[in-house]
Amino acid sequence: MPLRAVWIFSHGREQPSAVKFSRRFPTVEKRAKAFNRASHVSIPDNHEVLKALLLELGLTQENKNFVEYRDGCSRIRKTHVHALNVPDGKLWPVLAMQSADFIYACLPLVEQQLEPPPSLISISSISEAFSLLSGAMTFIHSGQNPEADVPSRLSHLASLLTQACPLGSPLDSNLIGLHEVVNSSAGNQAQKAPAWRFNRQKGKSQIDVHITEKVTCAQYDEGHDSDTWQVYGTVSCKCNLDAITASVTVGLHLPANGSPLQDILVHPCVTSVDSSLLISSSVAITDDSASNGPYKLPFTPPLEPFNLCHYTSQVPVPPILGCYQMTEDGCNVQISVKLKLHESVRNGFDHCEAHIPFFNKGHIKHFEYKVSHGQMEMSREKSRLVWVIGQKFPKSLEMVLSGTVTFSSDRLSSGPTDAVCGGNTAYVKLSFRIPEFTLTGCYTDQYSVQNFSTAKPKILTCKSLISQCEGARELLTVRARACERAPDCEGTHVRESELLTVRARTRERAPDCEGTHARTYVRASS
């Protein structure tokens, strides 16, 4: 179930867009002509494809206010599958995914006429298009130093694609796996090995299992149900086993009163799934009969690290409660922030920081403060305070910061500006990582990891609760939401503020998660 062509384009702000990689499959194209008949549209030159794609994605004429084909209100794109305007007609279905400064695109074969356009679900190669593009994306951006490695990885891609998709019908989407074992040859064996396990692994037998949970939370302190939070987890594994057909079972446990894991998604290498695992779901009414573990997942591990499963959970409270108040008087702004760690949460952080940014107020000239715990720092650009909380909350589990920030009077020409965080709208964001802790209580240990090969591997397990960096866009929208609920208070000089939003989510496969942040967004209102 094949593809007609695959492309990678670069599209950065600084550099002109360019074709970085392309591969066409003429035998598939020949079939496309036969299947699509009159509705067939042939693929133009790469630069034409790029031009049409940028147009379709709305990435052209960025400086123009309104361009109908780009901004028209009836042009509603509901998926990332596009119809490109090319000289021959409409080239459809082009799947295009953007990642970093690249656009990954491919054109799956549709084995029928294109008029009227069939639904995506009926195009059998569409999911392969998704898989292959995600695989290519992961491959290009993987490695220790993704930025610098991109060119060499791009040049490698052609030969990998020849293996993974020699004539347009993909065989594998995991290009990283292929990359590692190109030209390897295992000896003959008596039993068929999974196609993704090319090789025996050398070195010490070892199984690593990490459970990483993330929490995202928005707190407004408005009483009713406006606060929201969500917890989700990933179990990632790395197995080094000297056997072609290695079989491992990982058991996940919850404490006796823990709420069941929901929406469990398992890796394709999991050989069987007990139906009871799948019953608990966030979209169904909670059922008391839902199992709360242990969740057993038998699998044949791939050679590279992988995510064994994802889950979500509904926990009753967020890990940290916060409150943010602000009073503005000319150039002086009095702030007060209170944070409280929930007693069920492990009081031992790798790091914990609260960031308090100020917008549209000019530079911070002076800052006087009192803090019950931790230290205060000012960012280099003098527009943001950072409350370094460190490894522990105090015994009371509560902390208070109060102080007065004096801003330079020259508001317009200095300091960061923001369309939303003006006047009484502001936030605090929290960034933290708690090792050896999960909010759901989910854990695994060396007794729950079974391996059925002869050599006993060393088994390492760990867990953590962390938060993550999110895109600036999301940050902006959080604020906007906060401001939407803010009562109008023009003309008042004294403003008090309330609390807040914590957002956090786990990075994928993040056993070491330096540089990640959790955020607490705080909105001030009068």
Binding site: V19, P26, T27, K30, A34, H47, E68, D71, G72, C73, R75, T79, V81, E111, Q112, Q113, L120, I121, S127, F130, S131, S134, A158, T162, P166, L167, S169, L171, D172, S173, N174, S185, N188, K192, A193, P194, A195, T216, Q230, Y232, T234, L265, V266, P268, T271, S275, V283, N307, C309, T312, A419, V420, G422, E474, T477, V478, A480, R481, C483, E484
Partner: protein
């Protein structure tokens, strides 16, 4: 240097390439094959490519890269069946040569892929093509080495590639392998290394196609299915017949009626395949499930229940191809595989997938789309568009609520889904849901209101459009929405184009619904209420755009608009400033007002306004237009007025332009000012063949001999430096292909020429042709070239043309490039006008002596022989060299050719005993390869 026919191969005009230049050539070829091949003939390039593939100087990596051209662009390189066959034969020979060495695994894989691609795409994969047969057998031979027993593990990638080649052959010619199923079955069983998956896939596809072939036969006898499974014959070449059509995956299903007893073996084969399916990569599993799904759907006696054991594993997956497999099985088998309970569960899982925080956005959007096309067991309608599954409840979608944290695409898809759901399910929850959706709109509004960026702005307007689409009957929200929009316009009038677009689109959507009109009217009111003195010119432009749009609404009264315009003219100082754009913007409102159905009510006011403009606006163009509108308003009946004004330049022919249209931003008058790229090439330049003339039969002429002075040659060379010789090529400019009526008369055709090799000629002047009319004599175009290269050589000249059509548009197109072949560079020896005819024959003799090769000069002598009768030789000389023969006597010719600016080729040709001998002298030995190839071409056509 001795050349003889049949020994030397034609020398390619392509320069020798090395590794680096091949890498460069491949990348520029890939960027645009057509423009690459306009600089060099396809044959030459392909020849060079195939030659260098065998060259030892080229590295293997580069060769792989070169092969990728054949793998990706076979039809560009082998434009016809014949060249495809020849190319694949050459590649096949290369492959055989590498097989012996046992090395070069990547190269061998790529050779397989290239041969496969060329054979299939040039329609050569059939029983009549020897290479195709050989190739198929070779593939079988390669894959027969199961478990690397003979060739060792090094060869494994080649085996995998061969499997893939066979699978692709089978897919392109379904049934090709249908009579060898047993062989494939055993191979798939025996292969233990990780490439077992390729064997399995090959077997599965072959099996499915075989069953399909069987199902198409009418009443196959009992036992046919069993025989088919154990067949071990040869390739089924009939399957390669091109007239056989590929069967679309949807549509009429073939059904094979077979008894349960007969399908027993097949069932066990299928169970085995499914049982081991977990050993394949997810993508291959998906492919295999789909093949078996199709297969089972053809045979009624095999129950879809065989998939049951796989389902749970697939239900819980994070992999998109796995989950898609389940959805596809659901679509095909409905309740014969999925009970009502399963269906409900699957739907739940699908909803989970649409919102799972750990899945990518693209995939989640795909699942949302799947949700709206969910294959239900009992669908309520067969509408192919978006449908809500009956089992989907408001409760299930509670976490699908769009919020401002989402990206625009997700926000809108979710809003669309929920809107459909709330509209379908009445009740408290839906009411609340609609309220939430409206709140969501408001939060977007707040962001736009506070100067949200362009993306948020367009998302907001799309969300409004969606809301209007689904809830235009909820007056409560629609009024509220209107107020919100007015507020937004009040604070950001630069969003005027968005508002106009919203009005236009919602009018199309709702047809007779009053909301778009109310919005127009409300916007108009808001604008005219603005205090004129405070207006800034920047915002005025936006307001006028809105007013111009509102003036198109016949149900909206326009009095206040005209009054507002008058106020603006009187008090804003716009007339004194005399800005053409502002004036034009006011006039475009006036233009729409002139067409308004209730023109009577604004007649006086409008006349006043126009009069004021024509007297007070400080721009002569605006005054003129105002005067025109005024005259039209006061002198022409309303009916005619509307007709005259609505003639848009784009729709009608050339006349329209002369009327009243002024340059307004919304109109496409600008289309006249742009040069459009033509959709297809409709012009071509055809070389006019030269007419062969008689050549002089000469004899010795003592009189003229005596006239020849001693410094004869010096005089000759002197006049060479003095003159600039030109080559004149004559072409017919003619139409090409189907011409649509608008292009049957072309005017002002300007041809531009661009040299691909700038060192060979002086830059070319363009040629202008006044007109070209279909069915009339083609026009003759003379292209004059002034050669300047030291080494004349063939080259290519790109041609483009701009022309105007009758409707006033200007187009630009590229024509087929002109090929300057080697003989096109020939001129007769130029002799001073004072010389007599016979002097030229003597010039030949003198030159002949002068071109005697020695160590100090570039001169060279060469001989070319071929089998040729005297008559044939005469006809060659007549056809190709008539202008250049200086002396002819009894099968002896003296031919003198001048290649400007400085080169000469002299040939003494003698035909004797059916052998033609060309003795050649030239003052530039670089010309010899070209001459050789030219002689080969012309003599091979006339040979014995």
């Amino acid at each position: 240097m001795q050349h003889s026919a049949g020994v030397t191969r034609p020398i390619s005009i392509m320069a020798e390439r090395n590794n680096a230049s091949w890498i460069q050539a491949v990348s520029s070829f890939c960027a645009s094959p057509q423009s690459f091949l306009s600089n060099i003939t396809t044959e030459d390039f392909l020849d060079g490519l195939l030659k260098d593939l065998t060259s030892e100087a080229i590295q293997e990596q580069t060769k792989v890269l070169m092969l990728s051209l054949l793998e990706e662009f076979p039809n560009h390189l082998c434009p016809d069946q014949r060249s495809g066959e020849d190319t694949s034969e050459v590649l096949m020979n290369m492959l055989k040569a590498t097989v012996k060495s046992g090395k070069n695994v990547p190269l061998r894989c790529h050779l397989l892929l290239a041969i496969e691609t060329v054979l299939i795409t040039t329609d050569n994969f059939n029983i009549d093509c020897r290479v195709a047969q050989e190739f198929a057998s070779m593939l079988m031979h390669i894959i027969a080495d199961v478990n690397d027993i003979k060739q060792g593990p090094v060869n494994r990638p080649v085996r995998a590639t061969a499997c893939e080649c066979l699978r692709e052959l089978e897919t392109c010619c379904p049934g090709f392998l249908s009579e060898r199923l047993e062989t494939f079955y055993y191979m798939h069983q025996q292969e233990m290394t990780y490439i077992h998956q390729s064997y399995t896939m090959l077997y599965t596809v072959a099996l499915k196609n075989a069953v399909y072939l069987l199902a198409q036969r009418e009443n196959p006898p009992n036992g046919t299915l069993k025989t088919m499974l154990t067949s071990n014959k040869n390739f089924f070449w009939k399957a390669t017949d091109n007239s056989r059509e590929l069967r679309p995956t949807s549509g009429e299903q073939a059904v094979l009626v077979a008894s349960k007893r007969e399908t027993k073996e097949l069932k066990s084969v299928l169970s085995c395949l499914l049982e081991d399916s977990f050993l394949l990569t997810p993508i291959c599993q998906n492919t295999m499930f789909w093949q078996i799904t199709q297969l089972v759907s053809m045979i009624r006696t095999v129950s879809p229940g065989i998939f049951k054991s796989q389902l749970i594993r697939l239900f819980g997956t994070m992999d998109v191809s796995f989950f898609h497999s389940v959805l596809q099985m659901k679509a095909v088998f409905t309740d014969s595989l999925f009970t009502a309970e399963d269906e409900h569960f699957l739907l739940q899982r699908l909803v989970v997938m649409t919102q799972h925080p750990l899945l990518g956005i693209s995939v989640k959007l795909f699942y949302l789309d799947c949700l709206l096309h969910f294959p239900e067991n009992r669908p309520l309608n067969s509408n192919p568009g978006e449908n809500l599954p009956v089992l989907l409840t408001v409760q299930m979608t509670s976490s699908l609520f769009p919020n401002v944290f989402n990206d625009g695409c997700t926000m809108l898809s979710r809003q669309n889904l929920l809107s459909m759901l709330y509209l379908e399910n009445e009740g408290f929850q839906s009411e609340k849901g609609i309220g939430f959706l409206f709140d969501h709109l408001l939060s977007l509004y707040k962001m736009v209101h506070r100067n949200g960026n362009r993306e948020i702005t367009s998302t907001f307007f799309r969300a409004v459009y969606l809301f209007v689409r689904y809830f235009n009957n909820c007056d409560k929200y629609m009024d509220n929405l209107m107020n919100t929009l007015l507020e937004l316009y009040g604070s950001r009038s630069s969003l005027a184009p968005y508002f106009i677009n919203l009005i236009n689109e919602s009018q199309v959507l709702l047809e007779f619904h009053s909301w778009p009109f109310s919005l127009s009217s409300a916007l108009q009111k808001q604008v005219v209420r603005l205090p004129v003195e405070m207006l800034n010119l920047g915002n005025l432009g936006w307001h006028l755009q809105i007013l111009a749009r509102v003036a198109q609404e016949h149900t909206v009264t326009q009095k206040r608009t005209v009054s507002f315009l008058k106020q603006v003219c009187l008090h804003s100082g716009i007339c004194q400033q005399g800005d053409w754009r502002s004036g034009n913007a006011i006039l475009s409102v006036c233009k729409n007002l002139l067409q308004h159905q209730q023109l009577d009510s604004t007649f006086m006011l409008l006349a006043d306004l126009l009069q004021y403009l024509m007297h007070h606006f400080e721009d002569i163009d605006i005054q003129d237009h105002a005067r025109l509108y005024y005259v039209l308003l006061t002198n022409v009946s309303i009916d005619k007025l509307t007709k005259m004004l609505t003639m848009s330049p784009a729709e009608s022919q050339s006349k329209a332009r002369s009327l009243s249209s002024i340059m307004t931003q919304s109109e496409n008058s600008s289309t006249f000012l742009t040069i459009h790229n033509a959709q297809s090439t409709i012009l071509q330049l055809c070389l006019i063949p030269k007419v062969a003339s008689e050549f002089p039969v000469s004899s010795e002429d003592p009189v003229s001999m005596s006239l020849i002075k001693n410094h004869f040659l010096d005089e000759y060379y002197e006049q060479l430096t003095g003159q600039r010789s030109r080559l004149t090529m004559k072409y017919h400019l003619a139409y090409k292909g189907d011409i649509n009526p608008t292009h049957q008369k072309l005017f002002c055709i300007a041809l531009q020429f661009e040299l691909t090799d700038e060192s060979s000629f002086e830059p070319l002047d363009g040629v202008t042709v006044p007109c070209l009319i279909l069915d009339r004599e083609p026009t003759v175009v003379a292209v004059k070239l002034v050669p300047k290269a030291k080494d004349p050589r063939p080259s290519v000249i790109r041609v483009s043309a701009t022309y105007s059509t009758q409707d006033g548009f200007t187009h630009r197109t590229s024509l087929e490039p002109l090929q300057m072949m080697f003989p096109d560079l020939f001129l007769p020896l130029p002799s001073p006008p004072s010389w007599l005819t016979n002097a030229r024959a003597h010039l030949f003799d003198r030159l002949w002596l002068a071109l005697q090769p020695d160590k100090t000069n570039q001169c060279e002598e060469s001989t070319f022989c071929c089998d040729m009768s005297e008559n044939a030789l005469y006809s060659v000389a007549r056809s190709y060299f008539s202008d250049f023969v200086l002396f002819y006597n009894a099968n002896e010719y003296k031919i003198g050719i001048y290649l400007p600016p400085r080169c000469h080729i002299l040939m003494q040709v003698i035909g004797k005993e059916n052998i033609a001998q060309f003795v050649i002298r030239t003052d530039n030995w670089n010309l010899l390869p070209f001459l050789n190839s030219h002689l080969l071409t012309i003599t091979s056509q006339r040979a014995l």
